[in-house]
């Protein structure tokens, strides 16, 4: 079976992978900034986009997604955002990034106060730029859960 899909790891970094990783990082910088304009620059503005915030139903299209960010940013306090365990896979003009989001309230402690979310971020290359077309985030397991069996 031929493989148009290439997994990309740090040891095998291509310019495409670097550009996708940069687009993913820009999303988390926008999340940290709590600025809707900055967040807007990351997304494709199209009806095809979709978004699942943690524990939330799916939002369809950029208009709904933009309103959700306005609500989130209006109701959030300063936080720092980083991501761990980043994995990039590219298939032509489409890429998916999986990572663990680490969100710490401003002044909080990385170990005790961090919320960790498992994220799937899909990017499409449009006119040479990688734009976010789908985001799905959900709570990541705590340490004691890791020893248990997954249940789908």
């Amino acid at each position: 079976m031929s493989l148009p899909i290439r997994p990309v790891y740090r040891r095998n970094v291509t310019s495409d992978a670097t550009a996708v990783a940069a687009a993913n990082l820009a999303f988390y910088r926008a999340l940290e900034s709590r600025d809707v304009e900055t967040m807007s620059d990351v997304w494709l503005h199209d009806a095809a986009t979709s978004c699942v915030h943690p524990g939330w139903h799916r939002l369809d299209g950029w208009d709904e997604i933009e309103r959700s960010w306005q609500n989130i940013f209006a109701n959030s306090r300063p936080w720092t955002v980083s991501c761990e365990d980043v994995r990039v896979a590219i298939a032509g003009d489409f890429a998916w990034v999986t990572c663990v989001e680490v969100i710490v309230p401003f002044g909080g402690d990385d170990e005790d106060d961090a919320a960790r979310m498992q994220a799937t971020n899909l990017f499409g290359r449009v006119n040479g730029e990688w734009r976010l077309v789908h985001h799905h985030a959900s709570p990541s397991p705590t340490e004691q859960l890791v020893s248990e069996e997954p249940v789908n």
Copy 2:
């Protein structure tokens, strides 16, 4: 901005969208069957694949994913599986499907006993066949949560 990405709804069904929806349905039939071979037929067997079961850390590559299905199926009881609110978007040889998984224990009641999961399923077209390359499922909100604000 040009749009290589096409959202596909029921009113605008193409043969590609039908094929992707069929691949998505095959995944849920495999989940319902609790048969690893049936599940194996749905996935691309490649190191690029990834999977996030609900509340679980990410699994990388088909070998890890296959083991997780073996564990899940060995430890699960009969259930019925369906999906609601299916949305298909296609960009060339790549597609993402979002839907709500509805999992009901055998003999259970659809309303009271169903577990609902929000899912993102990514498919790649390889040699003309749509194969699952990434699955991310997480608990869907209950009714009372829908009135609250999303928190990312």
